[in-house]
């Protein structure tokens, strides 16, 4: 598959947006924004490569590290920043926060604070699409750590028996918090396990957005053809600490050389180099993209800051649908 200039520029722009967003979150967090923030940097190619292969009404299910997935899926900068800042205009009215971004309007069915727990929900969304014959696909992101939780196995098996239109996207960034994959996993190439479920599994260079995109397009086609699930294991790396609570970038348990080597493989760097190499983009345009990202984020920050705080009493609503009125199925 040849990736077009338009698509590659689009993906580069999205990745840059994710990177600039991370930077803004660090800044806001350092100046007092509440919550636990697990950032994307290093993993942009996986988020953007997969989501670029999906349509707006396809579903994604995400993890604690879900901000990038949301934005890659077309998420609303204002809504997410307002959520972080505890505003009425937040996508989840201040009830969700950074680990629970949910926005059905772009098919983002949920980040999740419990590692692996979005996998069954993705299977259920895929089952629902199948039963409704809607042609939708569900992509489930999960980490190398999640791959060793029981639900992963159950979900692979369910997807295998039921031929669910689901894509299992493993972001193998080699660490489960401080625990290296060599210590938490009995094999290192996790995609090899897919065969045990009659599901095609692929190992992908997760720092190369084109490679991820190509694999995802194929997986989406397989799902839409009715041929069921695919597992993509994308080898990647996180450039930050596990969360922003660790400002050492994880150097307590991993080496500076290792980090430096991976920084070399930065997915943005690679995509930019490819664009330049092919003569698909000029410096000025690169600059313009960056400005658009920065400006969009700046505007969203301003929007969020000027939004009214979520009223404390809202805490008592939304336990049941009856507390609030009608059930809502946006984006289904």
């Amino acid at each position: 598959m040849e990736i077009s200039r338009e698509i590659l520029i689009g993906m580069y722009s999205k990745m840059l947006l994710l990177r600039r967003f991370d930077e803004k979150v660090v800044e806001l967090y350092r100046s007092g924004m509440k919550g636990l923030y697990h950032l994307t940097a290093g993993g942009e190619a996986v988020a953007v490569g997969v989501c670029s292969a999906l349509s707006q009404d396809d579903y994604i299910l995400s993890t604690h590290r879900g901000k990038g997935h949301y934005l890659a899926k077309g998420g609303d900068l204002q809504a997410i920043l307002a959520e972080f800042m505890e505003k009425q205009t937040g996508c989840n009215r201040g009830k969700g926060g950074p680990m629970h971004i949910i926005d059905p309007s772009v098919g983002m069915l949920g980040a999740n604070g419990i590692v692996g727990s979005s996998l069954p929900i993705a299977c259920g969304a895929a089952l629902s699409a199948k039963l409704r014959r809607s042609g939708q696909v569900a992509a489930a992101f999960f980490g190398d750590g999640a791959a060793n939780s029981g639900v992963w196995h159950e979900c692979m098996n369910l997807a295998g028996i039921w031929k669910l239109p689901v894509i299992f996207v493993c972001e193998n960034n080699f660490y489960q918090e401080s625990v290296p994959v060599s210590r938490h996993s009995s094999i290192q190439d996790l995609y090899a396990r897919a065969a045990g479920y009659n599901i095609p599994g692929y190992g992908i260079d997760g720092m190369d957005v084109s490679a991820v995109y190509e694999a995802a397009v194929e997986a989406v086609q397989r799902a839409k053809r009715g041929d069921g699930a695919t597992m993509l294991e994308c080898k990647t790396y996180r450039f930050h600490g596990h969360s922003e609570a660790d400002p050492t970038k994880g150097l307590r348990y991993r080496s500076g050389e290792e980090l430096a080597a991976w920084l070399e493989k930065c997915p943005l760097k690679q995509a930019k180099a490819r664009l330049l190499e092919r003569g698909w983009i000029a410096d000025a345009e690169l600059e313009a993209i960056d400005q658009r990202c920065t400006q969009g984020i700046e505007e969203a920050v301003n929007f969020a800051k000027s939004s009214p705080d979520v009223p404390a009493e809202w805490a008592l609503k939304d336990v049941f649908t009856d507390d609030q009125g009608e059930i809502c199925h946006e984006g289904c």
């Binding site: 059905p104 069954p120 929900i121 336990v319």
Partner: protein, 323 residues
């Protein structure tokens, strides 16, 4: 109205709802063959493998599948045969299903039903005899219904399936052998309305699930001694019909809660703590609980009989309270 078997009623209620609403579907271990307790008999033949789905032993993920299907517009029913097995699914039940609406700030809902049992008295021992309604009701966002007759099994099932929230229906498997009147055709019983099974003036006896028939028996035998017991079946624990309970206590001035689960942290503790908050001045004696005395359920039937309340121990407790 002729009597219908409880399990036939359950299958019938699911069937009618599946006919009424094509979004409703069923998942569970062995449901295609009619279910281990034959509470799903005939459904597979009518609705086929898409809507009546056998599952692997993957409780956590199957409940999670229901969450995913529910938030995207379907109305799944999941059967978990014994509530003991639901301990495998607590993450999806309590961290996901229960909290989805809240965490999304009201943007999503998870209209789904988990059918499970609460049961004992069948020599099934510690891992097949728990009654975990008080574990479930501790998690905000779950509705809990415990139908105790064929009639309520149908009406509550229909309400649960139509509810926009996750509802756990707990059926004591002791009822599967019973029958009772249950009208043909459509009717619902609202979630949140208790049933006064028998009016009385001397004491309020609140009984949960399989304890309802035991309570009725105890009330009967006490009537012979001139003790007039009011028996209440709350039917749902969330929402809980505190109004009916408090009204009753204000009339009888006494309360005994009887349940088949563990005493510590059981339904009784919650109801008593709520009643003392709302009707303390009406109480003539300490409200009391009858429940399993903080042991697992043993196998041998004489031991099981000892730890579980029954009509005799209920009657005794009431005699003591009225002394």
């Amino acid at each position: 109205m002729k009597d219908v078997n409880y399990r036939t009623v359950v299958a019938g209620a699911i069937r009618e709802e599946m006919e009424r609403d094509e979004r409703v579907f069923l998942m569970g271990q062995g449901v295609q063959a009619g279910g281990s307790y034959m509470t799903c008999e005939g459904l597979f033949d009518l609705f086929g493998p898409d809507r009546v789905r056998d599952t692997p032993i993957s409780e956590d993920s199957v409940v999670g599948c229901a969450v995913g299907a529910a938030i995207t517009g379907l109305r799944p029913i999941v059967e978990i045969l014994y509530c003991d097995f639901a301990l495998r699914a607590m993450d999806q039940i309590a961290n996901q299903a229960a909290k989805y609406r809240y965490m999304s700030g009201g943007r999503m809902a998870a209209p789904m039903v988990i059918r499970t049992s609460c049961g004992y008295g069948a020599s099934r021992a510690a891992q097949h005899s728990q009654s975990l309604e008080s574990m479930f009701f501790h998690f905000p966002g779950l509705k809990i219904a415990l139908p105790s007759s064929a009639y309520t099994a149908k009406g509550l099932m229909k309400s649960a399936i139509r509810d926009d929230n996750p509802v756990i229906i707990m059926e004591s498997f002791q009822f599967y052998r019973t029958a009772g009147p249950a009208p043909e055709g459509d009717y619902t019983i609202p979630l949140g309305k208790a049933e006064v099974k028998k009016e009385g003036t001397d004491i309020t006896l609140l009984a949960i699930s399989a304890m309802v028939p035991q309570a009725m028996k105890a009330a009967d035998s006490l009537a012979g001694e001139g003790i007039d017991v009011e028996v209440i079946d709350p039917l749902t624990l969330v929402p809980l019909d505190m109004e009916t309970i408090v009204n009753s206590v204000q009339k009888t001035n006494r309360l005994l809660v009887v349940e088949g689960g563990t005493k510590r942290g059981g339904v009784g503790s919650e109801i008593i703590a709520s009643v003392v908050e709302e009707a303390f001045d009406h109480l003539d004696c300490p409200p009391s609980r009858l429940a399993v005395p903080n042991t697992p359920i043993p196998f041998a039937s004489n031991m099981e009989d000892l730890v579980l309340p029954n009509s005799a121990s209920i009657a005794n407790a009431i005699r003591r309270m009225l002394r």
